[in-house]
Every structure is written in C-alpha cells, then in structure tokens.
Amino acid sequence: MQTISAVFTYTFKEHVRHKAWLSSALFGFILLGGALVISALGADERPRLMLDLGLAGIEAITLVSIVFLTVNLILQEIESRAIYLILTHPVRRSDYLLGRFLGTLAAAALGMAIMAALHLVLLGLYGWWEPGRYLAALLCTLGKAGVMGSLALLLSLALTSEAAAMAFSVFFWMLGHFSSEMRFLADRSGSAFIKTAIVAFSHAAPDFAHFNYRDFWHATAPGAQWLMWAGVYAVAYAGACLALSVQLFEQKEF
C-alpha cells in the first residue's frame, strides 16, 4: 500500500506540475464563447444550453486529457529511463502501474472539479442549481475517463508507440458510442462467424451506453442503482484492462 501511495503521489504531482490543469483554462474560453452565443437566444433556453455545452466540454476535455496522459504515462518513463530507478526498488510492477494509473485519474478528476466549479458559477448566474444531478453527470464522465484511461494504457503497452496508441484509443472511443448498433448489426448478419466476431468485438470495446445520463437527463435524474451499475461496469472494464496491462508489463525488459 505504501508503494502504491508513493507512486500515486508522485504521478499526481508530476501531472499538476506539467500543467495538466491548463485544460481548465481552455474550458473557461469555451464557456465564455458559449455564453456569448447563448445570450442571443431566448431566456428560457439559456440554462439548458449552457448546461449541455458545459457538460459536453468537460467530457471532451477530460477524455482528451486522460488519453493523452495515459498513453504517455509509461512510455515517457521508459524513454527518460526514470523507470530504471523505480523498478530497481522493491516495487511490484502491478503496484507501479496501479499507482501511475490512479494518480493520473486523480489529476483528471482535479481538472474536472475546477471546470465544474467554473461551470456551476455560470449556471448559477442563469438560475440553474441542481447539484445532485450535476454530480451524477460528473461521475459518469469520470467513469468514462477511467475506462478510456485504462484502455489507452493497455494500448500504449501493447503497441509501444504513442501515435498508434493514441489513434487506436480514439478509434475505440468512437466505437464505444456504437455498441448497441454493433449488436444490431450482429443480429442481422447471416454468417455465424461474422456475428460472433462482431459480438466479441462489441464486448471488447468499451460500452459508453452505461454512462449515458443524457438519456433521461432532462426528465428525471439517474437513480442510485443506475449509477451503481455504471460504477461496476467502469471498475470491471478498467480492472480487466489493468490486469492485461500488468501481464504485458511483466514481460518487458528495460
């Protein structure tokens, strides 16, 4: 536990000092630009549009940040050889990977919290204040970030190329939004082989439908059970990706 905590702390500090939080400034500009456009619209539509724009901005910036950070997470340590000194201490490779991953996720969560605070201030000015629903939306984005981060980490270790890992991560991110369509395609397929392949692929790719709070966002807030299952899915998917990453990482020589 002391090892994971030590790796977690230095990873978190590293991201903060590499100015990962600058993504929040980008978000501020998006909000300001959005507010200018929205101010031209009818008063009753403004809070809803500001809410949707802000949440979409937080999600996009968080996902881009986490993919970028996790793809470089181990490869840069290998390139700078800083990994030599870590792994020549009594550190299990699984502990190292877990600490690095959790530290990165915490840095992404910090960025999300800063963006959310800015967003909530602006929403407050528009008269919108529903922190429970807002928190549910943020948890869903964090779940997606955890899933994408673990997948990007696995791809970076499997492909050992930052560019290829990033490209595949974006591909899987897009695919993750079409899981039900893929299963529909599999049902319609005449070939048993193609059907099995598509179903297997749709299960291997992340299924972001589990985090789609927008399905009922404007009607009722997502229930605790729905959120719990989203959490279970995120932990299970990220856990599987991390387990595979450990398997790959154990084989590596430096």
Binding site: Q2, T3, S5, A6, V7, T9, Y10, K13, E14, R17, H18, S80, R81, A82, I83, Y84, L85, I86, L87, T88, H89, P90, V91, R92, E253, F254
Partner: protein, 254 residues
C-alpha cells in the same frame, strides 16, 4: 556467503525488423562470484557487457541462459531489492520533483517505515550535501547535484549491497574523489560494492578484486595483491585481454 553469483549467464538481445531477426550477445556464459563485504570493479570497453550484467542483477533484464543470484536469492526477486542500492550511469530521476520529494519517494519505495522516513531523508540529504537545495526542483540541479541525488536514493535505505554503474564517468576531479571516499566508507561498514568503470586508476585505488569483460565474456579476474605496489599492471592486463567488438579501429596519427 556470496552477495552476487552469476552462474553461466548468457544474455542475447533479439531484435526483429521487417521479418529479419538480429541477435547481439550481451553476456556470454558469465561465471562470477562476489563474496559479501568485497569491493569489486567491472572493467570493460563500451558494449562489453558491464551494464547488461548490472541490469540482470537488478531484474531489469532476464537471462537467456543461466542463473543470477543476489544476496542468496534468485534474480529477479522484488523482495531482495529492498536490500540493494543501485545508481545508474546517469541520474535518471523525475525532474518535476524537488530533491526532498525525490528522496522521500525512494525512501517510501524502499519500505522505510513512515515514522522513520522523514528523519532518514533529512539525514541523507545532509550526508550528500544537498540539504541547502532540498526544496529546489531537480530540473534546476547541476549534473553534479543530480549525481548526488542519485547516490542518495541508492543509499537512503542503508543497503547491504551497493551497485554503481559507471559512478565516476563525466564527473570533475573533486566529485570523483568524493565518490571514492563514499566507496571506501561503504567498504569500512562491511557493505558489498560492485561498480563498473572505464577508469582504471579509480578501480585500482578502491577495489579488492576486478573483472575484465570483453565481448560479454569475463576474460580476466585479478585480486588486489596482483597490482598493489606495481604500476600499470591493470592497464597492461586490460590492453592484452580486451578486443574491440564495436567495429571501430585504432586511431593512427603517426
């Protein structure tokens, strides 16, 4: 008891590119025992296998053939690393951390109990002369200061076995003298020291025994009584024993 034991160890690097596999011999049947409390110097040209031997000891590489043992345990063994200190040829440290944070990280990774950690970190910073610069980031350190920070992380947990990969390469004469003093201090405390070097005069001054590597093979093993009080013994043995394996011919200026 032996602190280090190489038992017919070979390491072959295989690289595949476009379906073509090339093999490079890192070590070829190395047999070497280093008893506890000895200061042992590994001499050799670039590419002779010194760093490969050290990486095998530290678990960064796995042997292709044979067995490596450190402190009576077969390498790689994560637990035994808590009793070994290692400083690589350059200070591969995370430059975003301060000197104190860096040492705190390695103290935690070396499993120094939390209650004792801060005291040990302060003591070590003082010992290596970095107390005044402890809160500066490593990115602001000079090469000499980084080398000290690297030595500090290797010694913070008071290891039984210290492995130094080319510790005097690129250092100024004053820093070389300090490293020599450090090795002799470790020897006086009964620690086992293995270090690799190109510098014959340094090896001559501090080692109990030396081994000369060439092309991954141990071509000469000498003990102190063979060179004490005589001049150029090691240099002559070195020139006779080694062969260039990097394809570079001698310089001819006549």
């Amino acid at each position: 008891m032996n602190a280090i034991s190489f038992q017919k160890v070979s390491k072959i690097y295989r690289r595949s590119h476009l379906g073509k596999t090339t093999e490079t011999v890192g070590l070829d049947g190395l047999e070497l025992d280093i008893p506890e409390g000895e200061v042992f110097g590994l001499l050799g040209l670039n590419g002779s296998g010194k760093t490969t031997a050290i990486k095998l000891l530290m678990g960064l590489h796995l042997p292709t053939k044979g067995e490596v043992e450190t402190l009576g345990r077969r390498a790689p063994d994560v637990e035994v690393l808590a009793r070994i200190g290692y400083a690589p040829e350059a200070a591969y440290l995370n430059k975003t951390l301060t000197g104190r944070e860096n040492l705190r990280l390695f103290a935690a990774l070396s499993r120094i109990p939390r209650g004792n950690l801060e005291k040990r970190v302060e003591e070590m910073l003082d010992r290596v002369g970095l107390a005044h610069a402890a809160d500066k980031r490593l990115s602001e350190y000079s090469k000499g200061m980084l080398q000290r920070a690297s030595l500090a992380q290797a010694l913070v947990h008071d290891p039984e076995l210290v492995i130094l990969d080319e510790p005097v390469t690129g250092l100024d004469p004053l820093a070389i003298k300090e490293v020599r003093t450090l090795i002799l201090w470790l020897k006086s405390k009964g620690r086992t020291v293995l270090f690799s070097s190109h510098d014959i005069s340094e090896v001559e001054r501090v080692c109990d025994r030396i081994g000369i590597l060439s092309g991954g093979r141990l071509v000469k093993l000498m003990s102190q009584n063979e060179w004490r009080g005589k001049s150029d013994v090691i240099e002559t043995a070195f020139a006779t024993a080694v062969k260039r394996t990097d394809g570079v011919g001698p310089i001819r200026m006549e």
